[in-house]
Amino acid sequence: MINASQQLAEQASHSHIIAAGDYWMHVVKAGQTFRILDLEGNQAVDTLFYSAADPAERYSATDTIREQGNVYLTAGTKLLSSEGNVLMEIVADTCGRHDTLGGACAAESNTIRYSLDKKCMHSCRDSWLLAISEQDVFSMSKRDFTHNINFFMNVPVTAAGGLTFEDGISDAGKYVEMVAHMDTIVMISNCPQLNNPCNAYNPTPVEVLIWDAL
C-alpha cells in the first residue's frame, strides 16, 4: 500500500548514510519514527530488530507473516516480535512491498546460490558479524541472527508455490517509515551482493532518518 509521510527531512533528529557493504546498529526509542530511504533505487536493506530491554525478544518473520495473513510487508504491517509484541509498525511506504522470506546473503549461502568459489565475497551476514563484535554493548552473538526483512526487495510467491526474484519495484527516493512501539535495536546490513540482478549488480547507499515523538 502506497502511503506517503508528512515528516520533513530537515526536522529529523538523526540521519546517517549507510554505504553499501556497511552496517548500522542503533537504538530507536519508543515513539520515534524511523525511515529508510533508498537513495539510488532497488537497494536491499537487510534489517533485524530486537527489543532493547531484552534482545532475546526479536523480530519474527513467521509470526509477522501469519498474524497479518500476508507474506508481503507494507504500510499497516506490524512487525511482531518472537513474543507476539509489536516492535515497530510501518506507517508510510512509497515502494509498496518489502520481502521477509528471502533472508540475508552469506558467504555460505552464496556458495549454494551462485557457485562454490563465491565464498570470499562480502555478504550481509559478515556485516552483521562485524556489527555484533564491534558493538559489544549489546552482548549479541550469531545466536541472535534470525530471519530479516529485505526492505525494497520484491520476492513474489506464485500460486503454484514458487518463489521468484523479480526486478525491483523501488526507485531512487522511495522510502519506508515505521514508528517504534518499544525501544528497539535496529541492525542493518546495506547489502553488498554483486551476483543478483535485483539491484542491477550495483549496491548503492541508503539513508536512515529518525524523528523524535511529538
Partner: protein
C-alpha cells in the same frame, strides 16, 4: 525408496499435542506418517556439534526458488550445507513460512486449559514445546528460528494473502527425511496456528527411523537443482570424505 523390515531401526506411534526431540545420525532417515490425516509436525533441526548451525528457512527457499517443500527438496543449513533431503513425499506441499502456535494463539482459538484441570490432555502450544525440547540441549529462545510444518499446506494468492489449502493431508500420507548430517531434531505435534478447526486438533502420527543407503551421485535430491548439488558438496567437505565434484 525401499521400506523393509531390514532397514527399520525404530517405529513409534506418537500422540497429537505433544513434543519430543532426538539425535538423528547422518545416513538414517526419519519417516513421518500422518495416520489419521490432518496432522501437523512442527520441526527444527540443529547441528549437534555446533548448534549455531541450523535449518535455515530463507536459504532453503531462495536456494530452490520455492515457497513449499516436497520430494526432491533439500533442507539447507545457514552454513550452506545439505542437512536433510526429502526422498519420499505423498503429500506434496509442506509449509515452513508461518511459524508455530504460541500460548496466545492457542488460548484465542481453542481456549484456556491448565495441567491442573486437564492433566496431560491440557492444550500444549508449539512455542513452549520447542523451548522445552531446546532446553534439553542447553538451548533456548535465542536458538528459535523458522520451523517446518510437515503435513500443512499454506497457499499464497496473487496479493500475497495466506490461504489454508483445501487439500490438507489424508490418512496415510507420509514423508521421509534422509539426514545428510547428524542433527538434533526438535519436534511437536501441536496444531498449526492457522488450522480453522473449532476444537483443538489432536492428531497422532507414526514415526520411523530407518537406515538408508548413502545418496548416489545421481540421487534425485542431489541433482534436483545445481544449488542442491553444491549444498551436498559442502556437506561432503564438512565430513571430509572422498568423492563428489572436482
Amino acid at each position: 525408496m525401499h521400506l523393509t523390515d531390514e532397514n527399520l531401526i525404530y517405529s513409534e506411534t506418537f500422540p497429537g499435542g505433544a513434543h519430543w526431540s532426538m539425535r538423528m545420525r547422518a545416513g538414517n532417515a526419519l519417516r513421518l506418517v500422518d495416520t489419521e490425516g490432518g496432522a501437523n509436525v512442527a520441526m527444527l533441526m540443529l547441528n549437534p556439534e555446533n548448534p549455531l548451525e541450523k535449518y535455515n528457512m530463507p536459504d532453503t527457499l531462495k536456494g530452490q526458488h520455492t515457497f513449499k517443500l516436497s520430494q526432491g527438496n533439500t533442507l539447507f543449513s545457514d552454513m550452506g550445507r545439505a542437512m536433510c533431503s526429502i526422498v519420499e513425499d505423498s503429500f506434496g506441499w509442506h509449509d515452513t513460512a508461518t511459524g508455530t502456535c504460541n500460548r496466545r494463539v492457542v488460548e484465542a482459538k481453542w481456549g484456556h486449559s491448565r495441567y491442573q484441570d486437564a492433566r496431560n490432555d491440557y492444550l500444549r502450544n508449539g512455542r513452549d514445546s520447542f523451548l522445552i525440547e531446546l532446553g534439553k540441549y542447553g538451548l533456548g529462545k535465542r536458538d528459535l528460528a523458522a520451523n517446518l510444518n510437515w503435513f500443512t499446506r499454506i497457499e499464497v494468492d496473487d496479493d500475497g494473502n495466506l490461504v489454508w489449502g483445501d487439500d490438507q493431508s489424508k490418512p496415510g500420507d507420509a514423508i521421509t527425511l534422509r539426514f545428510e548430517m547428524d542433527a538434533i531434531v526438535i519436534m511437536h505435534t501441536c496444531p498449526h496456528p492457522l488450522n480453522p478447526a473449532k476444537a483443538y486438533p489432536r492428531k497422532p502420527i507414526r514415526y520411523e527411523i530407518r537406515e538408508l543407503p548413502a545418496p548416489a551421485m545421481d540421487d534425485e535430491c542431489r541433482l534436483a537443482r545445481p544449488e542442491s548439488e553444491r549444498a551436498f558438496e559442502n556437506t561432503r567437505l564438512y565430513h571430509q570424505v572422498k568423492g563428489g565434484q572436482s
